[in-house]
Subunit: 316 residues, 2 copies
């Protein structure tokens, strides 16, 4: 590994960590949305960890402390959804600024939102930690189960597969735009999509049960996350259509993160059965958006290359 | 719950979270060093989460990025040790300041130390996350197993139990003092105790197998952590002796955190067997330091009250 330039992207840092520390770090670590761990005495669990940082992922001028807690747990749960796992429990590490001597304390506001998201998703909070820090950081670890079945990986897409997404995209990004413009009411559906996103846990389980080949959640943007799925699978894709949510732009649908819709692939012959299983679970039908191709550098939307856009940190 | 004053201690915030959010947060959450979670399909795992924050828990002027990574993983593993659990895997969430454009990147230095601690403790890293933040924060979740047996709780101490500690205390605090004074060499054993502490995983397993009643790790100071064990158990204690490490002061032994020695209690009739099992495992013999009493407000060192001293955040 060569000496890296300052200011790497998140994906580059993760790749550097994987390549330089291969000996001490598990081979599958940092590769999928979540990892599957064998439990001594039987069974296995799916685990993932995710941080929400004030001023980076969230702005307390645009959402309440309880929204931050909700978003932190749901964002982590979305990683379970992307593996087809049901939640078993979560742990929450809070870092709270010393200066935030609010009443009620900031930590309680955040944890109230965590508790609401926990109740809404049937995921008990089983542990936690509280520290002082310069800014609010909420780190959540989620534990899940795939009922003894294999999780749905990012890397399983095959040429000829149909690519589907569980719903129209761009709602969260559009809601953030409205909040920034001061144009969002409290119950507004787009701003709610930003402040109170919902992990597609049931849809993920249905995809796993239906034998879906590959899956990822749209956390950093449909384009970037679909590129990641194709990278992991060593395949290309040709998209024919992008479902844009009402009130959102195509740009927001492609590049906006935190929608937590699921993108999945399945054999062309299995699409009808998948649709039936979504219907049987009273879930909206997933939307076909294109096909997987064998040529790994072919990444098309219509006739054009799909720009690898989306939200990534630049890190030191 | 009344309206709290600004500037709570960590224990007060945890208690407030527990009392106000009882509905959404599991009853046992935040109570022990780690929680035991039943895994669908059989078995159970012990889980804990812990953050290390630059400028709060560690100072990069006194230790290397790799030391921070090592300390973060070992501190979390110590929570498993305190339950009598063996490590199964760990997840690491890094928050890295944007300004830290060092070469090699700060994130890689931290993860190198994480990997060294993982190798030293036989704990594979199974997942991770990287974010940007104002300061370095390393949050580690550890997963462990108690081989189908019940974990050793904080709350199991009984009147008449003997209190023991796995080794002399104060080494880490003395090492930090030497580092601050610029008096520590690289291989100095006290500064190593601070920069590279070791979780007492084998000792914890022996205590569990020997049927120890209660256990906690010395993460925030022998005094504070022993008070916490007594609080959880609803008992008091009379200490006769405090084992002070060579080069440390009594103050450092009582109030210095991060030694990661284990404090445990066991029936008076079981002490000899416990000693034999430590000896059979080639571990140094635990040191008796006093007895558990029925009177919950009796917290004595010799004739004097043992001050509840130790390291706690004050939080907003």
């Amino acid at each position: 590994v060569g000496s890296p330039k300052p200011g790497h992207t998140e994906d580059e840092i993760v790749e550097l960590i994987r390549r330089t520390l291969g000996g001490g770090i598990g081979e599958s670590a940092l590769r999928d949305d979540a990892a599957s761990v064998a439990v001594p005495g039987g069974g296995s669990i799916v685990v993932s960890i995710d941080s929400v940082v004030e001023g980076v992922h969230v702005d307390l001028a645009l959402c309440r402390p309880s929204d931050v807690g909700w978003k932190a747990l749901m964002g982590a749960l979305s990683d379970l959804a992307a593996m087809g796992a049901r939640p078993v429990g979560a742990l929450v590490a809070l870092c709270v600024p010393e200066s935030a001597q609010s009443d009620p304390p900031l930590a309680l506001g955040v944890m109230a939102g965590v508790a609401e998201a926990a109740a809404a998703s049937g995921c008990p909070i089983v542990g936690g930690d509280v520290s002082r820090a310069a800014q609010l950081v909420v780190t959540v670890t989620v534990l899940g189960s795939t009922d003894g079945e294999a999780p749905v990986p990012r890397s399983g897409a095959r040429p000829g597969d149909v690519v589907l997404v569980t719903g129209p995209c761009g709602r969260s990004a559009a809601g953030l735009r409205q909040l920034r413009a001061g144009m969002a009411g409290d119950g507004d559906s787009l701003s709610l999509a930003y402040r109170r996103p919902v992990a597609r846990l049931e849809a993920g389980v249905v995809v796993r049960q239906a034998g879906g080949h590959a899956m990822i959640d749209v956390s950093d943007g449909l384009s970037l996350d679909l590129h990641r799925l194709a990278d992991a699978s060593g395949v290309g894709f040709r998209l024919t259509d992008i479902p844009v949510a009402d009130g959102a732009t195509l740009e927001e649908a492609l590049g906006g993160g935190e929608d937590y819709e699921l993108v999945l692939t399945t054999g062309a012959a299995d699409v009808d059965r998948l649709m039936e299983q979504f219907s049987a679970a009273a879930l909206p039908p997933p939307i076909p958006i294109g096909v997987i191709t064998a040529q790994a550098d072919q990444r098309l939307l219509g006739p054009d290359d799909l720009v690898r856009r989306g939200w990534q940190h630049r890190l030191g």
